[in-house]
Structures are given as structure tokens and as C-alpha cells.
């Protein structure tokens, strides 16, 4: 007993020592998927990250006397992750918005960027502003100032805003004609133009904003120390050296540094009036977002119902083919089921939308519908196959002795009984599909979860958007479960 207590004391002591050492680490969150020049895995050593934000983080850590440690967090979740305490600061091309300034401890701006419009080279003469893009598709990264600008341009200029989860595919889709323009930071546009020629970026900014570091609310003491370090680095040329190294230094930065060092107040965004949800009361913001959440819920419902219908039809075909088909058909269908079940749905969606785009350019909604349907068809087929096999053999023999053909037996005797057995797992799958449909946001379809994420990012909180989103999903799935229970009762 004494030994046990001693061991616990020793372990506790060790943990306490570790905790005491933890302030020596400066954890900074970023998204390496964002790539160069912000943060990216070092091509020569993928276990470490490189980029100008990496060097800014190192500069801050050094000023604080700590060891920098990178924490990978998805770009759209960095704010929430900081509030959770996963890292001390978020630094990954994080935009300076009124919502962030209101909801978090935000550092002073350390880089100024322009929101710039890129169009295909052939369209450069006629498509110069958002007003020129009426009825055309304009893409950007979701949850950004640029997306907010595009939503406003949907109302003002009749453009079609398309949201992406990454900053690479908007440009590739622009080049293959899925988009007519891209609105993004000049840093991203410059980088992409070097690797994917064929588009032109208009230098006139649609808006101007900055990159900032974001800290949890209440962490103002650390934020102020970081501001001091950044000002020193602006003054002694260390920040300039970093930006020059990454080829992002320009006159805008000279102007920003002068403003910062002169103690001038710097507006988060200029050239566009941000109408942030964070500035509204929670209730007003919710009321403002409700129509778009309802629209997104309709997209989720239509997508799920359509995909399920196709999946059921294909699933029945696959199951029947595997039970009644020839050897080759059975092998091919088994191969299909195993391939689909053995690979992630997300990968299948990417392949359908981006992978085969050179050969077949599917619209985002069609690719989403097909991706979900083809994936769920494999799972449905296994349910039906199991259900068909579960029909007692005596039933099939009775049908045979009555002279029914194999097809008639399937249609009139085996199928209907199997369908009753399959109903419960089918309902379960449909409810799962309703939720899995959120994955199609990677193909630029703004469904319920994506719209909720946009709402939450703009509001700076997940509490209300999450609750509304959950209620809408429940409102869709509960009646379905009720209907299935009624059918089951009726058939029993």
C-alpha cells in the first residue's frame, strides 16, 4: 500500500514537473494544408514545417524566450481551437476581421494583403470587377472576408458565390472553366500563378485587410507582449527580411509598418464594409442566418433523398447480381463493393469531382449526388444481399413448385420479404447518409453543416449555430425514423 502511494506521489510529481516546464513551449496553431508561403511541410523533411508564418512564430517564440511548437489545426477551426487551449496563438494567414477583434485577443496586423480578382487570360479584358461577373461563378475560400464579399456581390451584382475548403482548387477550376473568376488574397494568387499559368490577376484590390495572430479572449497580457515583439521586428527589419525571403515583401508592408510603428489605428478591412454577424446580437445574427440555414437544409435533404434513391436502386441491382449473376458478374460486383467499402468517401468524392475533371467535368451537385449514391450503393447492396439470403429456403422451394420462374420468385416472393428485413438497416443508413452528406462541402456544395460552419465562423461561436443545425438535422431524420417504425409495425 505504502509503495502504491509512493508511486502515485512520484508520478504526480513528474506530471507537476512537466506542467511547470510547459510555459517554456510556445504552441502555435496553423494549417499546413494551406501550403507555402504560409505554412507547409518541408519538402526535404516533411516532419517539419516551413513558411513565413513559421518564421514569424519562431521570431515571437524567441522574443518570449520559449521553444516554438507547431500544432496542426484545420484553417476554419483555428479560432475555436485557440479558445479550447490547444495552442497559445493561431498564425496561418488569419484574417483581421471585426468579428475576430470583438471575440478574441488579436495581435496587431503583421502583414497587409489585397483581395484580388483572378480571371482566365482570355477574359482579362472584359471581366475586371465583380460587377462584370453578373450570372457568373466566382470562387473563394469559405469562412474568409473574400467569401463575405462574394455573398454581398451575390445580392448586389448577381454573381454566383462558390465556396471552397482549400485555396488550390478554385484556381484549377478557373482554368478548366468551372469558375469564371477567383477572389482571394494576392499572396495566394501570386503563388498559384507561378505554378498554374493561364489566368490573370487584376492588381486593383477589391478590399484590403491583414494577417493577425489570434489568441484566446482573456489572454491580452501575452498578446501585448507579442505586439511588442512584432513592433520591434518591424523596426529592426527582421520581419522585412522574412517577407523578402518568401518573396512577399512589397510597398503595402512598408505602409503597414509605418502605421503600426506610428501608433495609428488600423481598420481591419478597407474597401469593403464588413457586416459581421459578431457585431449583431446573437438573436439578430441567428435570425439573419436562418433563411440560409433552411436553404442549406433543403440542399441536404434533396441531396440525401436523391442519393438514397439511386443507392437503393443500384444496391438492389448489385445484390441480385451477386446472388443470381454469372461468375464474372459476381466477381466484378464483389470487387466494386470491396473497393468502395475499403476507401474513404472523401477520397471518392475528390476523385469524382477533381480526379476525372480532365475527362468528365461533373457539376458539383451531380458529383456529390453520384459520389454519395455510389458509396451508399455498396453498403445497401450488402444489406439486401443479407436480407435476400435470410428468406427461408422453403419459401423459394414453394415458389418453384408452383411454377414461378426465378425472376418471378425474386420479384413476388423473395424480394418483398427481403425488403421487410432490410427496412430497419436501410432507415439507419439513410439517417447516416443525411449526416455524411456534409462531406460534399469539399466539392463546393454549401449544405447544412457547411452553412452552419460559415455561420459559426462569422458569429465567433458554435453554441447557437450548432444547436440550430442539430435541430434541423433532427427535424429531417426523426420523421423518417417514425415512418420506418410505422411501416415495420404494419408489415409485422
Amino acid at each position: 500500500m505504502f509503495r502504491l502511494v509512493a508511486a502515485i506521489v512520484m508520478i504526480s510529481g513528474g506530471a507537476a514537473t512537466l506542467l511547470a516546464q510547459s510555459p517554456a513551449i510556445f504552441r502555435w496553431a496553423g494549417d499546413a494544408e494551406g501550403g507555402a508561403p504560409y505554412v507547409e511541410a518541408d519538402p526535404s523533411d516533411p516532419s517539419r514545417v516551413v513558411g513565413f508564418d513559421v518564421e514569424v512564430a519562431e521570431l515571437i517564440a524567441k522574443g518570449l524566450g520559449r521553444e516554438p511548437r507547431f500544432v496542426e489545426v484545420a484553417f476554419t477551426s483555428i479560432d475555436q481551437s485557440i479558445v479550447r487551449g490547444d495552442a497559445d496563438i493561431g498564425l496561418s494567414g488569419i484574417e483581421d476581421t471585426p468579428a475576430r477583434r470583438a471575440g478574441y485577443a488579436v495581435t496587431l496586423p503583421y502583414y497587409q494583403f489585397r483581395e484580388v480578382l483572378s480571371v482566365r487570360s482570355a477574359d482579362a479584358g472584359q471581366l475586371r470587377t465583380l460587377a462584370d461577373l453578373r450570372g457568373r461563378r466566382v470562387g473563394t475560400l469559405s469562412g474568409t472576408i473574400a467569401y463575405e464579399i462574394l455573398l454581398a456581390a451575390e445580392r448586389d451584382h448577381g454573381i454566383v458565390a462558390v465556396s471552397y475548403d482549400d485555396d488550390v482548387h478554385p484556381y484549377s477550376d478557373l482554368l478548366i472553366g468551372r469558375l469564371d473568376a477567383v477572389l482571394l488574397d494576392n499572396v495566394l494568387a501570386d503563388r498559384r500563378s507561378r505554378t498554374a499559368p493561364g489566368f490573370v490577376t487584376h492588381p486593383e484590390p477589391v478590399a484590403v485587410s491583414h494577417y493577425v495572430g489570434v489568441l484566446a479572449p482573456g489572454n491580452e497580457v501575452l498578446r501585448d507582449r507579442i505586439n511588442g515583439i512584432l513592433l520591434d521586428a518591424m523596426k529592426d527589419g527582421r520581419l522585412e527580411a522574412i517577407y523578402k525571403k518568401w518573396k512577399i515583401w512589397n510597398d503595402d508592408q512598408r505602409q503597414l509598418f509605418a502605421q503600426a510603428l506610428g501608433g495609428e489605428s488600423i481598420a481591419p478591412v478597407t474597401g469593403y464594409k464588413t457586416d459581421s454577424a459578431a457585431a449583431l446580437s446573437k438573436w439578430d445574427a441567428t435570425r439573419r442566418y436562418l433563411p440560409s440555414l433552411f436553404r442549406a437544409a433543403v440542399i441536404t435533404l434533396v441531396l440525401s433523398c436523391g442519393a438514397m434513391l439511386i443507392a437503393v436502386a443500384l444496391g438492389v441491382g448489385i445484390a441480385t447480381g451477386r446472388l443470381y449473376g454469372g461468375r464474372l458478374a459476381r466477381m466484378a460486383l464483389t470487387g466494386y463493393v470491396e473497393l468502395i467499402r475499403g476507401t474513404p468517401l472523401l477520397l471518392q468524392l475528390f476523385v469524382l469531382y477533381y480526379g476525372i475533371a480532365a475527362a468528365v467535368r461533373l457539376p458539383a451537385f451531380v458529383a456529390s449526388l453520384l459520389g454519395l449514391a455510389l458509396n451508399y450503393a455498396a453498403y445497401e447492396s450488402e444489406i439486401y444481399r443479407g436480407a435476400l439470403l435470410a428468406v427461408p429456403v422453403g419459401q423459394l422451394e414453394a415458389a418453384r413448385t408452383l411454377g414461378l420462374s426465378e425472376f418471378q420468385t425474386l420479384r413476388l416472393v423473395r424480394g418483398p420479404q427481403a425488403f421487410r428485413l432490410a427496412l430497419a438497416p436501410m432507415t439507419n443508413d439513410f439517417v447516416a447518409l443525411l449526416k455524411d452528406s456534409s462531406l460534399v462541402s469539399v466539392l463546393t456544395v454549401v449544405e447544412l453543416t457547411k452553412q452552419t460552419q460559415i455561420f459559426a465562423t462569422n458569429l465567433g461561436s458554435w453554441a447557437i449555430p450548432g444547436a440550430v443545425c442539430a435541430m434541423l438535422y433532427l427535424a429531417m431524420s426523426l420523421p423518417l425514423a417514425g415512418l420506418a417504425r410505422r411501416l415495420e409495425r404494419r408489415w409485422q
Binding site: 427461408p392 422453403g394 419459401q395 422451394e397 414453394a398 415458389a399 418453384r400 413448385t401 408452383l402 411454377g403 414461378l404 420462374s405 418471378q408 413476388l412 416472393v413 418483398p416 420479404q417 421487410r420 408489415w491
Partner: protein, 234 residues
């Protein structure tokens, strides 16, 4: 096409020649010969597990058999060969089978069970099929159970619905596996009389049974399976 009309004696001819049967590789019956004449009501007796049901299943084309030939009407099954679809189709129109455990279609009412084959195999109009089905149910004393699902029927009722289902397509040869098993004494007598009536128009019935009384009272011929051989009691 409509269900074949009883009275065509060639269709109700059943002949087994030197048939050898086995189950899961275990020999059951060897050298079985049988010539059933139109109008015969043959009782097939023997201890449990002796192979009575296996004989019926082989005649109905549900299981292959080792050797010999089975002829029913114009369908001929060869032992040791896989059953082909055309033969099975012809067989399906000549032979009806009432299973011991009924095997009624669980998702259909009694009436729908009976109408299924006339409507979908013989293309009888729905109204005519239903009329005939109700008539059969009345003859078998279960008309009131027309709309009941199989699980709502008693053992005896299910047995009679299964007989009605087999009779609905008017098979020249009717095989019945232990039809008396679920019936009380008075129902057995009723069923025996009904089976006799079914043979009057030239239909051949082969019925497995443990019921000695039934065999004596109603069968025109009695076959006994014993130690792998089948003997006819004269």
C-alpha cells in the same frame, strides 16, 4: 394458358424407374420403381428419416437424385444430371407439392397465396383467380380465413391453405408431405374424403404419412419404405 384440366390421363402418369436416392452423400433408397396410374391415391409409409420426403422432393425436382429416371407427364428427370430449366418448367406445371410445414408466403394473405401462381404463371384474370381461390377455401372449410396472414393461422388452417394453393394450379400429380400431421381425427376424415374426390378426375396423389388408418381407409395403394427399399403392400 390456364391450369391444366384434370382428366387428361397422360399428364397424371407418374413413373419411377430404378431410382437411387441419397441425402448428404448417405445412400437412402436404392432401386425404387413405381408406376402410378391416373386416379391412384398412393400412401407412402415408413419410419422417420427413411427417405419419404426425399422421394417427394426428387419427383418435384427440388433435389437431384443419383440414378434412374422419373417421368411425370411429358417431363423426364434423369438421375445423376443437373436439373435443367426447361424440364423444371414443364415439371412445375405437372406436379404440385404440399410441404409438411406449409411454406406459405409470409408476406401474403391466405387468398393471395392461393392466387399467386394462377395469376402470374397461368395468367388467369385477377377476378377469376380470386373466385377460384375462394371456392377452394370454401371446399377446404377455411373460407373465413381468406384475409389472414400465415402467422395468424392455426396449424390445421395453414395446412388446408397450403393444399388450396397447390390445387389452385390444378396439377395432374399432387405430392403431399404428411398432410395429416396437423389435423384432428374428424379433420383427417374430411381431408381423406377430399383427397379421394381429387383423384376422381384422374389426378394422381402421392401422400407420405405415418397414419395407418388413413392409408387403410383412403389409399388405393400403400408403399412402405424400409431399410432402403420400397415395397408395395398388396
Amino acid at each position: 394458358m390456364t391450369p391444366s384440366t384434370p382428366g387428361l390421363h397422360e399428364e397424371s402418369r407418374l413413373a419411377l424407374r430404378d431410382v437411387t436416392l441419397s441425402r448428404a452423400g448417405r445412400p437412402l433408397i436404392a432401386g425404387l420403381n413405381l408406376d402410378a396410374r391416373p386416379g391412384d391415391l398412393i400412401a407412402l409409409r415408413g419410419p422417420s428419416g427413411c427417405g419419404k420426403t426425399t422421394i417427394l422432393r426428387a419427383i418435384a425436382g427440388l433435389d437431384p437424385f443419383e440414378r434412374g429416371t422419373i417421368s411425370v407427364g411429358d417431363a423426364c428427370l434423369e438421375g445423376g444430371t443437373a436439373l435443367n430449366r426447361a424440364t423444371l418448367h414443364r415439371l412445375g406445371r405437372s406436379v404440385g407439392l404440399v410441404f409438411q410445414f406449409h411454406c406459405l408466403f409470409e408476406h401474403m394473405s391466405a387468398l393471395q397465396n392461393i392466387c399467386l401462381a394462377p395469376r402470374h404463371v397461368y395468367r388467369v384474370a385477377p377476378e377469376a383467380a380470386e373466385r377460384a381461390a375462394r371456392d377452394l377455401l370454401r371446399q377446404l372449410g377455411v373460407e373465413s380465413r381468406a384475409d389472414a396472414r400465415p402467422r395468424e393461422l392455426s396449424g390445421g388452417e395453414a395446412q388446408r391453405v397450403a393444399i388450396a394453393r397447390a390445387l389452385a394450379v390444378n396439377p395432374p400429380v399432387l405430392l403431399m408431405d404428411e398432410p395429416m400431421a396437423s389435423l384432428d381425427a374428424s379433420r383427417r376424415a374430411e381431408l381423406g374424403a377430399l383427397l379421394q374426390k381429387l383423384t376422381e378426375s384422374g389426378r394422381t396423389l402421392l401422400v407420405t404419412t405415418h397414419d395407418e388408418r388413413f392409408a387403410e381407409d383412403f389409399a388405393t395403394r400403400v408403399l412402405t419404405v424400409e431399410s432402403g427399399t420400397v415395397r408395395e403392400r398388396i
